[in-house]
Amino acid sequence: MPQESTNDPLVQFHNVTFSLPTAANIISDLNLTVEKGETLVLLGESGCGKTTTLKLVNRLLTPSSGEVRVEDRATTAWDPIALRRRIGYVIQEGGLFPHFTIARNVGLVPVLSGWDAARTSERVRELLSLVGLDPERFAERYPRELSGGQRQRVGVARALAADPPLLLLDEPFGALDPLTRASLQREFADLTSRLGKTAILVTHDVREALILARRIGLMHKGRLVLLETPERFLASDNPQAHAYIETLNLSDGGAR
């Protein structure tokens, strides 16, 4: 597999296996390098281990064997709190705190990191504007008063708040209607390239992968079976990749 870029690695998986005592391996022998500035999309069906892979990065989980390195240091050598504050995390529906206002949700990590109130508030306004939400209208509302798409924007804003070099996104657009999803995907692609963020995004939607990824990592039964650019992914003769491409053709055919 030829490497496209020679940029510095930000995240590295070295022979990582993750298992629970009760089950077979969830991740088997994973080797993967995520480079600075790229958006890597992990694609696969439910239970293939893609979410587990994400959680190994911010040490919500630790490998059973092998190691995960972030900024060239093993996650087990990091202080987990310090590690997590350098990584933005976005999950489906945003994982917002229902008892916090939007402003408090977004300002959470800055406050935890000890920013003063004025700086935090300034940053919150900036971020809300960045994700397309009017700070005047939204800052003092609660998550339940927002639509799914608006909540998702807040989730992204919260992940960006302390300006982390790395974003982890677990099916961030999964629960949205197709129109909202499409526009958020475009905005997100625009945002990451503009801010130069590195992102690892997990999805089971091959269209989303093709739109957002610089590289697509295809996972199947706990293994990384393919790691390619979108163009090469489409041309691949890997049977799993082929199955995904076929669903694309089918739905395209239906649309025409």
Partner: protein, 516 residues
């Protein structure tokens, strides 16, 4: 007396009881929250502890409250009688709903929210304080609300261990068949429970994210909180003032009684006589079940009135015998050797079963003894209480000893037998010999000429160390030897149960009349 009139006469005392009740519940719930919420949090962090701890709390709640009070009385530090014991029991009862709801509330927090919190780089403490507890607060307050309503109910039983509260009215009302007392106690307790439920319901809604009227509710809850703190403050101030003056006295005597009118009267008599001699007295009256005995042996009480037959059979577990002298001597000897307790000289009356007929019948047939009446019983209907029908020294042995064959035997509530006899519904009953209505309804007590019934002479039981500590005790008990006749006791009982008078006044008058 109408209920309204009763309230007008007694409102200040009733308010005092309400206040005692609120203070007990408030302190108990406060302590239960301080213990229960951290315990619940601990259980969410240590799964293996969850089963055992919740199991223990569960068992705690199934123990009948009177039994729990009984266990606690002999224990050092947390036991004894009075508010402290009641509080320990109340806290134990309140723990389960609070611990359980804390666990349920925290474990019920949306996993994605908790995961997001951890992934944001929150420490475990921050996750707990900023996310889990605020989100679980609604469920936790529901637990506190349930515990509070239960505690308002259980606190009525606390009166049995001398902790005061509205239970005093309820117990007294049950004993004296006084609906006004019962109603005042039960209604107030019910209203308290409803009020607590309502106020905590408001607090609970504070933590739900549905309502937007949170500011207004916050004010209501705040007002309720202030009110509560005020009540507690006032009572603490009061009790600290009271306690300060009481503990100053070296010769303080704790006088107890059982939970019926006569026992309370006998205790009040001693209490007033001691007070007249400058001894300060702590009254622990109307204690339920076996509590007076337990409290006397453990040293919480210095003295209480007892009956020789009860001490002989129920406490010392001897088989009943009929010789009063033998019973008295045996009781005196056993109490001295087993409990270091002295038995006073008999005060002069017995409270045994009295076999009663109408005075008119007694005069017409010239009946003096039960044997005299035996031939007539084939024509008579008898009315007996449930207790007399079932106990060892009751009906079966009684009818056998005298060879009685009634036309009919009716089992009915003891209190109704008097009126049933005087209104010719029945012709013979077994009553308490000191019952006040024996005189007022013109009933006649037949002598137990075959000495079937064990003797139940009234005596005072007093700790030997108390006698040594307070010389006035010996003098008072000596004066009371043989001082109260059966007739006296009937009249005193009737003043309280029949005329609904204040025991303190009645005793004061009687002592003055007897020049004691």
């Amino acid at each position: 007396m109408s209920f309204w009139h009763f309230l007008q006469l007694n409102w200040s005392d009733l308010l005092l009881r309400v206040q005692e009740h609120i203070v007990l519940v408030f302190i108990a719930i406060l302590a239960a929250v301080i213990i229960g919420v951290p315990t619940g949090i601990l259980l969410t962090r240590h799964r293996s502890l969850r089963g055992p701890v919740l199991g223990i709390a569960n068992v705690m709640q199934t123990i009948p409250s009177l039994a729990l009070f009984g266990f606690l009385i002999p224990l050092p530090f947390i036991g004894g009688i009075g508010a402290r014991t009641a509080l320990v029991a109340l806290v134990l009862y309140s723990l389960l709903p609070i611990i359980r709801n804390t666990v349920t509330g925290i474990l019920g927090v949306e996993p994605s929210v908790r995961e997001a919190a951890v992934a944001m780089g929150m420490t475990d403490g921050q996750v707990l304080r900023q996310v889990e507890l605020p989100l679980a607060m609604g469920v936790i307050v529901t637990g506190i609300r349930v515990a509070t309503v239960i505690a308002v109910g259980v606190t009525t039983i606390a009166a049995a261990v001398g902790a005061g509260g509205l239970g005093v009215y309820i117990f007294r009302g049950l004993r004296q068949y006084d609906n006004n007392l019962l109603l005042a106690g039960a209604l107030s307790a019910a209203l308290l429970a409803l009020a607590a439920d309502f106020l905590l319901g408001l607090v609970e809604r504070q933590f739900s994210f549905e309502a937007k009227r949170r500011a207004g509710l916050a004010r209501v809850a705040l007002a309720a909180g202030v009110l509560l703190v005020l009540v507690v403050g006032i009572s603490l101030w009061r009790s600290s003032g009271g306690a300060g003056s009481q503990t100053a006295s070296q010769s303080r005597v704790a006088v107890g009684s059982k939970d019926f009118t006569e026992s309370a009267l006998l205790a009040e008599i001693v209490a007033q006589m001691l007070e007249a001699r400058g001894v300060s007295v702590e009254r622990r009256l109307e204690l339920g079940g076996n509590l007076p005995h337990e409290a006397l042996v453990s040293g919480t009480l210095d003295l209480y009135p007892e009956y020789t037959g009860t001490a002989f059979t129920a406490i010392l577990h001897h088989a009943p015998i009929s010789d009063p002298r033998a019973v008295y001597e045996q009781v005196k000897q056993d109490y001295a050797s087993k409990f270091n307790v002295d038995v006073s000289a008999p005060v002069g009356f017995e409270n045994t079963f009295a076999i009663l007929v109408r005075g008119a019948e007694a005069r017409r047939f010239n009946l003096k003894t039960i044997s005299d009446a035996a031939p007539h019983t084939t024509q008579w209907r008898a009315g007996f209480g449930q207790d007399f029908m079932s106990r060892e020294d009751g009906y079966p042995g009684f009818s056998k000893t005298y060879g009685l064959k009634f036309k009919e035997v009716r089992e009915m509530d003891l209190s109704l037998t008097y009126i049933a006899l005087s209104s010719n519904q029945v012709d013979l009953i077994a009553a308490n010999s000191t019952e006040g209505r024996i005189t007022t309804l013109d009933l006649f007590q037949l002598a137990d000429d075959r000495h079937y019934f064990p003797p139940y002479e009234a005596v005072y039981l007093v700790r030997q160390d108390s006698l040594a500590r307070v010389p006035a005790l010996r003098e008072v008990l000596a004066k009371l030897a043989n001082a109260i006749s059966t007739e006296d006791m009937r009249r005193l009982n009737f003043e309280i149960d029949g005329n609904k008078r204040d025991p303190k006044e009645v005793v004061k008058e009687w002592l003055a009349a007897k020049a004691l």
